[in-house]
Protein backbone atom coordinates (compact mmCIF):
# COMPACT_ATOMS: atom_id res chain seq x y z
CA UNK A 1 0.00 0.00 0.00
CA UNK A 2 1.27 3.47 -0.84
CA UNK A 3 1.66 6.06 1.90
CA UNK A 4 -1.45 7.84 3.00
CA UNK A 5 -2.54 10.14 5.80
CA UNK A 6 -5.32 8.93 8.06
CA UNK A 7 -7.83 11.20 9.75
CA UNK A 8 -10.80 10.18 11.87
CA UNK A 9 -13.72 12.55 11.33
CA UNK A 10 -15.95 13.46 14.26
CA UNK A 11 -18.89 14.84 12.26
CA UNK A 12 -20.14 15.17 8.69
CA UNK A 13 -18.98 18.79 8.42
CA UNK A 14 -15.61 17.86 9.90
CA UNK A 15 -15.28 15.10 7.27
CA UNK A 16 -16.25 17.19 4.24
CA UNK A 17 -14.12 20.19 5.21
CA UNK A 18 -11.15 17.93 5.97
CA UNK A 19 -11.49 16.17 2.61
CA UNK A 20 -11.76 19.49 0.78
CA UNK A 21 -8.31 20.41 2.10
CA UNK A 22 -6.59 17.29 0.78
CA UNK A 23 -4.79 16.78 -2.48
CA UNK A 24 -6.47 13.56 -3.52
CA UNK A 25 -8.30 12.31 -0.45
CA UNK A 26 -11.06 9.75 -0.13
CA UNK A 27 -13.71 9.01 2.45
CA UNK A 28 -13.11 5.71 4.23
CA UNK A 29 -16.11 3.73 5.46
CA UNK A 30 -15.60 0.17 6.67
CA UNK A 31 -12.81 -0.18 4.12
CA UNK A 32 -13.82 -3.65 2.93
CA UNK A 33 -13.32 -2.59 -0.68
CA UNK A 34 -11.05 0.44 -0.40
CA UNK A 35 -8.38 -1.18 1.77
CA UNK A 36 -7.97 -4.24 -0.51
CA UNK A 37 -7.93 -1.89 -3.52
CA UNK A 38 -5.18 0.18 -1.89
CA UNK A 39 -3.23 -2.97 -0.99
CA UNK A 40 -3.25 -3.91 -4.65
CA UNK A 41 -2.06 -0.39 -5.44
CA UNK A 42 -5.09 0.17 -7.64
CA UNK A 43 -5.92 3.22 -5.53
CA UNK A 44 -3.52 5.62 -3.87
CA UNK A 45 -5.48 8.32 -2.03
CA UNK A 46 -3.24 10.95 -0.46
CA UNK A 47 -5.54 11.06 2.55
CA UNK A 48 -8.19 8.87 4.12
CA UNK A 49 -10.98 10.62 6.00
CA UNK A 50 -12.55 7.89 8.13
CA UNK A 51 -16.29 8.51 8.46
CA UNK A 52 -17.11 5.16 10.08
CA UNK A 53 -16.87 6.59 13.58
CA UNK A 54 -19.40 9.40 13.11
CA UNK A 55 -22.17 8.55 15.56
CA UNK A 56 -24.85 10.51 13.69
CA UNK A 57 -24.42 8.15 10.71
CA UNK A 58 -24.94 4.94 12.67
CA UNK A 59 -28.69 5.11 13.27
CA UNK A 60 -31.53 3.10 11.80
CA UNK A 61 -34.98 4.63 12.15
CA UNK A 62 -38.47 3.89 10.88
CA UNK A 63 -40.93 6.75 10.52
CA UNK A 64 -44.22 6.14 8.79
CA UNK A 65 -43.44 4.28 5.58
CA UNK A 66 -39.77 5.24 5.45
CA UNK A 67 -36.80 3.29 6.76
CA UNK A 68 -33.74 5.53 7.12
CA UNK A 69 -30.34 3.87 7.41
CA UNK A 70 -27.31 5.96 8.33
CA UNK A 71 -24.39 5.72 5.91
CA UNK A 72 -22.04 4.24 8.53
CA UNK A 73 -24.40 1.40 9.47
CA UNK A 74 -22.65 -1.91 8.93
CA UNK A 75 -24.17 -4.78 6.98
CA UNK A 76 -24.31 -6.76 10.24
CA UNK A 77 -26.25 -3.92 11.88
CA UNK A 78 -28.81 -3.80 9.04
CA UNK A 79 -29.04 -7.61 8.88
CA UNK A 80 -29.60 -7.82 12.63
CA UNK A 81 -32.03 -4.91 12.96
CA UNK A 82 -35.48 -6.05 14.08
CA UNK A 83 -36.88 -2.76 12.73
CA UNK A 84 -35.52 -3.43 9.23
CA UNK A 85 -36.60 -7.08 9.39
CA UNK A 86 -40.13 -5.99 10.18
CA UNK A 87 -40.39 -3.07 7.73
CA UNK A 88 -38.48 -4.44 4.71
CA UNK A 89 -37.45 -8.06 5.30
CA UNK A 90 -35.88 -8.27 1.82
CA UNK A 91 -33.40 -5.56 2.80
CA UNK A 92 -32.35 -7.36 6.00
CA UNK A 93 -31.89 -10.56 4.04
CA UNK A 94 -29.88 -8.77 1.34
CA UNK A 95 -27.55 -7.31 3.98
CA UNK A 96 -27.16 -10.71 5.61
CA UNK A 97 -25.88 -12.18 2.35
CA UNK A 98 -23.08 -9.71 1.72
CA UNK A 99 -19.56 -11.18 1.94
CA UNK A 100 -19.02 -13.13 5.17
CA UNK A 101 -19.62 -12.40 8.87
CA UNK A 102 -16.32 -10.54 9.38
CA UNK A 103 -16.86 -8.43 6.27
CA UNK A 104 -20.41 -7.61 7.40
CA UNK A 105 -19.04 -6.45 10.75
CA UNK A 106 -17.04 -3.68 9.02
CA UNK A 107 -18.57 -2.90 5.62
CA UNK A 108 -21.09 -0.05 5.48
CA UNK A 109 -24.07 0.80 3.29
CA UNK A 110 -22.67 4.26 2.47
CA UNK A 111 -19.36 2.81 1.36
CA UNK A 112 -21.02 0.15 -0.74
CA UNK A 113 -23.25 2.48 -2.73
CA UNK A 114 -20.64 5.24 -3.11
CA UNK A 115 -18.34 2.63 -4.66
CA UNK A 116 -21.14 1.22 -6.87
CA UNK A 117 -19.36 -2.02 -7.63
CA UNK A 118 -21.24 -3.66 -10.54
CA UNK A 119 -21.56 -6.85 -8.49
CA UNK A 120 -22.44 -5.34 -5.09
CA UNK A 121 -25.79 -6.13 -3.46
CA UNK A 122 -26.86 -2.76 -2.08
CA UNK A 123 -27.15 -0.97 -5.45
CA UNK A 124 -29.84 -3.51 -6.41
CA UNK A 125 -31.52 -2.97 -3.04
CA UNK A 126 -31.58 0.81 -3.45
CA UNK A 127 -32.66 0.79 -7.09
CA UNK A 128 -35.21 -1.99 -6.73
CA UNK A 129 -36.87 -0.48 -3.68
CA UNK A 130 -36.77 3.04 -5.13
CA UNK A 131 -34.62 4.46 -2.33
CA UNK A 132 -33.42 8.03 -1.96
CA UNK A 133 -29.74 8.66 -1.29
CA UNK A 134 -29.18 11.47 1.20
CA UNK A 135 -25.88 13.36 1.00
CA UNK A 136 -24.41 16.29 2.90
CA UNK A 137 -25.76 18.55 0.12
CA UNK A 138 -28.98 17.07 -1.32
CA UNK A 139 -31.23 14.06 -1.85
CA UNK A 140 -30.73 11.92 -4.95
CA UNK A 141 -33.26 9.32 -6.18
CA UNK A 142 -31.62 5.90 -6.72
CA UNK A 143 -32.76 6.08 -10.37
CA UNK A 144 -30.34 8.99 -10.84
CA UNK A 145 -27.65 7.96 -8.34
CA UNK A 146 -26.21 4.85 -10.00
CA UNK A 147 -24.70 6.24 -13.19
CA UNK A 148 -22.52 3.38 -14.41
CA UNK A 149 -19.82 0.96 -13.41
CA UNK A 150 -18.13 2.31 -10.25
CA UNK A 151 -19.74 5.65 -11.10
CA UNK A 152 -22.37 7.60 -9.17
CA UNK A 153 -24.02 11.02 -9.32
CA UNK A 154 -21.95 12.15 -6.32
CA UNK A 155 -19.99 15.33 -6.90
CA UNK A 156 -16.34 15.66 -5.90
CA UNK A 157 -16.19 15.73 -2.10
CA UNK A 158 -19.91 14.99 -1.69
CA UNK A 159 -20.65 12.49 1.03
CA UNK A 160 -23.46 9.95 1.45
CA UNK A 161 -25.01 10.41 4.89
CA UNK A 162 -28.05 8.12 4.77
CA UNK A 163 -30.33 6.06 2.56
CA UNK A 164 -34.12 6.36 2.80
CA UNK A 165 -36.06 3.26 1.79
CA UNK A 166 -39.81 3.41 1.25
CA UNK A 167 -41.57 0.33 2.62
CA UNK A 168 -42.60 -1.99 -0.19
CA UNK A 169 -45.89 -3.85 -0.41
CA UNK A 170 -43.86 -6.92 -1.25
CA UNK A 171 -40.17 -7.34 -2.00
CA UNK A 172 -37.71 -10.16 -2.42
CA UNK A 173 -34.01 -10.47 -3.20
CA UNK A 174 -32.21 -13.43 -4.69
CA UNK A 175 -28.62 -13.73 -5.74
CA UNK A 176 -26.40 -16.30 -7.33
CA UNK A 177 -23.15 -15.61 -5.52
CA UNK A 178 -19.75 -16.22 -6.95
CA UNK A 179 -18.69 -19.15 -4.75
CA UNK A 180 -15.32 -17.60 -3.90
CA UNK A 181 -16.00 -13.90 -3.48
CA UNK A 182 -19.71 -14.01 -2.54
CA UNK A 183 -20.25 -11.06 -4.88
CA UNK A 184 -23.36 -11.42 -7.03
CA UNK A 185 -22.88 -13.07 -10.39
CA UNK A 186 -26.50 -12.10 -10.72
CA UNK A 187 -28.65 -10.54 -8.00
CA UNK A 188 -32.23 -9.43 -8.50
CA UNK A 189 -34.42 -7.35 -6.25
CA UNK A 190 -38.08 -7.38 -7.22
CA UNK A 191 -40.57 -5.17 -5.40
CA UNK A 192 -44.18 -4.09 -5.48
CA UNK A 193 -43.95 -0.42 -4.57
CA UNK A 194 -46.33 2.53 -4.39
CA UNK A 195 -45.06 3.44 -7.87
CA UNK A 196 -45.57 0.03 -9.40
CA UNK A 197 -43.36 -3.01 -9.76
CA UNK A 198 -39.60 -2.39 -9.80
CA UNK A 199 -36.95 -4.93 -10.72
CA UNK A 200 -33.26 -4.12 -10.29
CA UNK A 201 -30.42 -6.37 -11.41
CA UNK A 202 -26.85 -6.34 -10.10
CA UNK A 203 -23.78 -8.41 -11.01
CA UNK A 204 -24.93 -8.95 -14.58
CA UNK A 205 -25.03 -5.63 -16.42
CA UNK A 206 -21.97 -4.40 -18.28
CA UNK A 207 -22.74 -0.89 -17.05
CA UNK A 208 -23.53 -1.72 -13.45
CA UNK A 209 -26.89 -2.08 -11.74
CA UNK A 210 -29.95 -1.57 -13.97
CA UNK A 211 -33.74 -1.77 -13.99
CA UNK A 212 -35.28 -4.48 -16.12
CA UNK A 213 -38.28 -3.04 -17.96
CA UNK A 214 -39.51 -6.32 -19.46
CA UNK A 215 -39.48 -8.09 -16.08
CA UNK A 216 -41.23 -5.10 -14.46
CA UNK A 217 -43.96 -5.31 -17.07
CA UNK A 218 -44.36 -9.07 -16.72
CA UNK A 219 -44.45 -8.97 -12.93
CA UNK A 220 -46.71 -5.92 -12.95
CA UNK A 221 -49.26 -7.99 -14.86
CA UNK A 222 -48.75 -11.16 -12.83
CA UNK A 223 -46.68 -11.24 -9.62
CA UNK A 224 -45.44 -14.80 -9.78
CA UNK A 225 -42.25 -16.68 -10.57
CA UNK A 226 -44.01 -18.17 -13.59
CA UNK A 227 -44.39 -14.71 -15.09
CA UNK A 228 -40.60 -14.36 -15.29
CA UNK A 229 -40.29 -17.38 -17.58
CA UNK A 230 -39.91 -16.45 -21.19
CA UNK A 231 -38.90 -12.85 -20.38
CA UNK A 232 -35.65 -12.40 -22.21
CA UNK A 233 -32.60 -10.37 -21.23
CA UNK A 234 -30.35 -8.88 -23.89
CA UNK A 235 -27.00 -10.70 -23.87
CA UNK A 236 -25.40 -7.61 -25.37
CA UNK A 237 -25.96 -5.77 -22.08
CA UNK A 238 -24.38 -8.48 -19.94
CA UNK A 239 -20.97 -8.80 -18.32
CA UNK A 240 -18.88 -11.74 -19.41
CA UNK A 241 -15.85 -13.05 -17.51
CA UNK A 242 -14.19 -16.29 -16.44
CA UNK A 243 -17.04 -16.90 -13.98
CA UNK A 244 -19.84 -16.78 -16.53
CA UNK A 245 -20.59 -15.85 -20.14
CA UNK A 246 -23.07 -13.16 -21.16
CA UNK A 247 -25.50 -15.86 -22.26
CA UNK A 248 -25.21 -17.59 -18.87
CA UNK A 249 -25.78 -14.36 -16.96
CA UNK A 250 -28.73 -13.37 -19.16
CA UNK A 251 -30.36 -16.70 -18.35
CA UNK A 252 -29.58 -16.33 -14.62
CA UNK A 253 -31.33 -12.93 -14.53
CA UNK A 254 -34.67 -14.61 -15.26
CA UNK A 255 -34.01 -17.43 -12.80
CA UNK A 256 -33.03 -15.03 -10.00
CA UNK A 257 -36.04 -12.82 -10.73
CA UNK A 258 -38.28 -15.83 -10.23
CA UNK A 259 -36.56 -16.68 -6.96
CA UNK A 260 -36.78 -13.06 -5.81
CA UNK A 261 -40.56 -13.21 -6.28
CA UNK A 262 -40.66 -16.52 -4.40
CA UNK A 263 -38.69 -14.87 -1.57
CA UNK A 264 -41.09 -11.92 -1.37
Amino acid sequence: MYDTTYYRASSVSDATSKLAGTEDGKFLGGGQTLIPTMKQRLAAPSDLVDVSGIDALKNISVEGDTVTIGAACTHAQVAGSSEVAEAIPALASLANGIGDPAVRARGTIGGSIANNDPAADYPAGCLGLGATIVTDAREIPADEFFVGMFETALDEGEMVTAVKFPKATKAGYAKFPNPASRYAMVGVLAAQTANGVRVAVTGAGNDGVFRHAALEEALGANWSADATQGVSTDEGDMLADIHGSAEYRAHLVGVMAGRAVDNS
Binding site: D3, Y6, G31, I35, P36, M38, D100, P101, A102, R182
Partner: protein, 159 residues
Amino acid sequence: MTKVSMTVNGKARSVEVPDNTLLVDYIRENLRLTGTHVGCDTSQCGACVVHVDGQAVKSCTMLAAAAEGAEVTTIEGVAASKDDLHPMQVAFKENHGLQCGFCTPGMIMAATDMVSRYKAAGKTLDEPAIREELEGNICRCTGYHNIVKAIADGASKMA
Protein backbone atom coordinates in the same frame (compact mmCIF):
# COMPACT_ATOMS: atom_id res chain seq x y z
CA MET B 1 3.31 8.44 11.47
CA THR B 2 0.59 8.34 14.07
CA LYS B 3 0.64 7.13 17.64
CA VAL B 4 -1.98 4.38 17.72
CA SER B 5 -3.23 3.20 21.10
CA MET B 6 -5.51 0.29 21.82
CA THR B 7 -6.08 -2.39 24.42
CA VAL B 8 -4.87 -5.76 23.18
CA ASN B 9 -5.72 -8.85 25.24
CA GLY B 10 -6.39 -6.62 28.23
CA LYS B 11 -3.08 -4.71 28.01
CA ALA B 12 -2.86 -1.06 26.98
CA ARG B 13 -0.57 -0.77 23.95
CA SER B 14 0.65 2.32 22.17
CA VAL B 15 2.93 2.38 19.15
CA GLU B 16 3.87 5.03 16.62
CA VAL B 17 3.28 3.55 13.17
CA PRO B 18 2.88 4.79 9.58
CA ASP B 19 -0.75 5.67 8.80
CA ASN B 20 -1.03 2.90 6.22
CA THR B 21 -0.19 0.17 8.77
CA LEU B 22 -2.71 -2.66 8.72
CA LEU B 23 -4.08 -3.87 12.02
CA VAL B 24 -2.61 -7.33 11.40
CA ASP B 25 0.86 -5.84 10.93
CA TYR B 26 0.49 -3.75 14.06
CA ILE B 27 -0.40 -6.94 15.95
CA ARG B 28 2.29 -9.17 14.41
CA GLU B 29 5.18 -6.83 13.70
CA ASN B 30 4.84 -4.20 16.42
CA LEU B 31 3.35 -6.20 19.26
CA ARG B 32 5.02 -9.48 18.18
CA LEU B 33 1.79 -11.39 18.70
CA THR B 34 2.31 -13.80 15.82
CA GLY B 35 -0.61 -16.12 16.51
CA THR B 36 -2.73 -14.02 14.16
CA HIS B 37 -1.82 -15.14 10.64
CA VAL B 38 -1.83 -13.65 7.17
CA GLY B 39 -3.04 -16.21 4.67
CA CYS B 40 -4.42 -14.71 1.50
CA ASP B 41 -4.01 -11.00 2.33
CA THR B 42 -7.11 -10.36 0.15
CA SER B 43 -9.92 -10.65 2.76
CA GLN B 44 -10.89 -14.15 1.70
CA CYS B 45 -9.31 -16.68 4.04
CA GLY B 46 -9.94 -15.46 7.58
CA ALA B 47 -6.58 -16.54 9.05
CA CYS B 48 -6.22 -12.96 10.33
CA VAL B 49 -9.55 -12.77 12.20
CA VAL B 50 -9.36 -10.98 15.55
CA HIS B 51 -12.05 -9.39 17.71
CA VAL B 52 -12.35 -5.60 17.70
CA ASP B 53 -14.75 -4.31 20.34
CA GLY B 54 -16.30 -7.75 20.53
CA GLN B 55 -16.79 -8.30 16.80
CA ALA B 56 -14.83 -10.67 14.55
CA VAL B 57 -13.08 -8.71 11.79
CA LYS B 58 -10.38 -9.41 9.24
CA SER B 59 -7.33 -7.60 10.59
CA CYS B 60 -5.68 -7.61 7.14
CA THR B 61 -8.51 -5.39 5.90
CA MET B 62 -8.50 -2.73 8.57
CA LEU B 63 -6.03 0.01 9.34
CA ALA B 64 -4.44 -0.03 12.78
CA ALA B 65 -5.37 3.64 13.08
CA ALA B 66 -9.05 2.73 12.66
CA ALA B 67 -8.74 0.59 15.81
CA GLU B 68 -7.60 3.57 17.91
CA GLY B 69 -9.09 3.21 21.38
CA ALA B 70 -10.55 -0.22 20.63
CA GLU B 71 -10.52 -3.39 22.70
CA VAL B 72 -8.78 -6.02 20.60
CA THR B 73 -8.60 -9.73 21.37
CA THR B 74 -6.27 -12.07 19.50
CA ILE B 75 -5.81 -15.83 19.76
CA GLU B 76 -3.19 -15.20 22.49
CA GLY B 77 -5.86 -13.58 24.64
CA VAL B 78 -8.76 -16.03 24.50
CA ALA B 79 -7.71 -18.37 27.31
CA ALA B 80 -8.16 -17.44 30.96
CA SER B 81 -4.42 -17.78 31.64
CA LYS B 82 -1.18 -18.79 29.95
CA ASP B 83 -1.49 -22.35 31.18
CA ASP B 84 -5.11 -22.73 30.12
CA LEU B 85 -6.88 -23.28 26.86
CA HIS B 86 -10.17 -21.66 25.93
CA PRO B 87 -13.03 -24.23 25.72
CA MET B 88 -13.08 -23.68 21.94
CA GLN B 89 -9.35 -24.46 21.74
CA VAL B 90 -9.93 -27.62 23.77
CA ALA B 91 -12.74 -28.60 21.38
CA PHE B 92 -10.51 -28.14 18.32
CA LYS B 93 -7.84 -30.30 19.97
CA GLU B 94 -10.24 -33.04 21.00
CA ASN B 95 -12.09 -33.16 17.67
CA HIS B 96 -8.97 -33.00 15.52
CA GLY B 97 -10.23 -29.71 14.12
CA LEU B 98 -6.87 -28.88 12.59
CA GLN B 99 -4.04 -30.42 10.65
CA CYS B 100 -1.36 -27.86 9.78
CA GLY B 101 -2.92 -25.32 12.11
CA PHE B 102 -2.35 -22.26 9.96
CA CYS B 103 -6.03 -21.32 9.72
CA THR B 104 -6.81 -22.33 13.31
CA PRO B 105 -6.36 -18.99 15.10
CA GLY B 106 -8.81 -17.37 12.68
CA MET B 107 -11.16 -20.34 12.96
CA ILE B 108 -11.17 -20.10 16.77
CA MET B 109 -11.78 -16.33 16.69
CA ALA B 110 -14.60 -16.74 14.15
CA ALA B 111 -16.02 -19.62 16.18
CA THR B 112 -16.20 -17.80 19.51
CA ASP B 113 -17.71 -14.80 17.72
CA MET B 114 -20.46 -16.86 16.09
CA VAL B 115 -21.26 -18.61 19.37
CA SER B 116 -21.69 -15.33 21.21
CA ARG B 117 -23.70 -13.73 18.38
CA TYR B 118 -26.08 -16.66 18.13
CA LYS B 119 -26.47 -16.76 21.90
CA ALA B 120 -27.22 -13.03 22.04
CA ALA B 121 -29.82 -13.34 19.24
CA GLY B 122 -31.38 -16.44 20.83
CA LYS B 123 -30.68 -18.47 17.68
CA THR B 124 -29.58 -22.10 17.46
CA LEU B 125 -26.08 -22.68 16.12
CA ASP B 126 -26.69 -25.98 14.37
CA GLU B 127 -24.47 -27.65 11.79
CA PRO B 128 -25.85 -25.82 8.71
CA ALA B 129 -25.51 -22.52 10.58
CA ILE B 130 -21.89 -23.26 11.51
CA ARG B 131 -21.07 -24.11 7.88
CA GLU B 132 -22.73 -20.92 6.67
CA GLU B 133 -20.95 -18.86 9.31
CA LEU B 134 -17.57 -20.27 8.23
CA GLU B 135 -18.01 -18.64 4.82
CA GLY B 136 -15.09 -16.31 5.45
CA ASN B 137 -12.64 -18.85 6.87
CA ILE B 138 -10.73 -21.15 4.57
CA CYS B 139 -8.93 -24.35 5.59
CA ARG B 140 -6.87 -26.19 2.99
CA CYS B 141 -6.30 -29.38 5.01
CA THR B 142 -9.27 -30.70 6.91
CA GLY B 143 -12.22 -30.51 4.57
CA TYR B 144 -14.00 -28.64 7.39
CA HIS B 145 -15.80 -31.68 8.80
CA ASN B 146 -13.90 -31.79 12.07
CA ILE B 147 -13.83 -28.01 12.32
CA VAL B 148 -17.63 -27.98 12.24
CA LYS B 149 -17.73 -30.76 14.85
CA ALA B 150 -15.22 -28.87 16.99
CA ILE B 151 -17.23 -25.65 16.89
CA ALA B 152 -20.44 -27.46 17.86
CA ASP B 153 -18.57 -29.12 20.73
CA GLY B 154 -16.86 -25.87 21.74
CA ALA B 155 -20.19 -24.06 21.69
CA SER B 156 -21.63 -26.55 24.17
CA LYS B 157 -18.51 -26.21 26.36
CA MET B 158 -18.83 -22.41 26.34
CA ALA B 159 -22.40 -22.58 27.65
